[in-house]
Subunit: 107 residues, 2 copies
Amino acid sequence: MLDKTMRINYLFDFYQSLLTPKQKNYMFLYYLDDYSLGEIAEQYEVSRQAVYDNIKRTEAMLEEYEEKLGLFSKSQERDQLLKELKKLIGDNSEEISAIIDRLDKME
Amino acid sequence: MLDKTMRINYLFDFYQSLLTPKQKNYMFLYYLDDYSLGEIAEQYEVSRQAVYDNIKRTEAMLEEYEEKLGLFSKSQERDQLLKELKKLIGDNSEEISAIIDRLDKME
C-alpha cells in the first residue's frame, strides 16, 4: 500500500483538471510545496479550519474519481505490462522500443 | 471527424461513471436504444423539453470531461500505437502477443 501522501499526489496528477482553481492551489501548496495549513490560511486570509475542510473534501473527491474512472490503477497495470513487454523484447528492435516508450509516456 | 452520434457514444463509454443515474438513463435510451425524445418524456412523465435539455447538458458535460481528461483521444492514440506494435512483432511470439492483447483490452 502506498503511503497516503504519495497516493494523493498520484491521484492529484490524474484528476487535477477536474478540480476548481482554489482546490488546486490548496492541494498544490499543501502536498507539493509542503506548506502547513496555517501558512495556507494566512496566505488566503481564511481560517485554518476552512483550508483543512477544503483539502479533506478534495481528497475525498480524488478518491471518488479514482473509484469511478480508475485511471491511477489502470496506469499501474499498464506500466506493469509495458515493463514485461520491454523485458521480453529486449533491445532487439529500436523501432519496437520506440513505440513502447511512447506508450509508456502517455500517462 | 466522427459523426456526432458515434462520438457521443464513445464519450459516454468513457465517462458514464461520472453521470447521474437519470442522465445515464436518458442517454442510454436516446443514443443506444434509439428512443425518441417524446418516448423518453412519456416514460419518465416529464416534458419533451425537459428531456431535451437534460440530454444537451449531458452532451456538453461529456465534451467538457473529454477536454479535461482526454481519455477518448488518448485511447485512440494508444490503439494506433498498439496496432503498429502488432504489425512489427507479427505472430512471432505468443507471449508478447498476449501482453499486447491485454493492453489493447484495457480501455
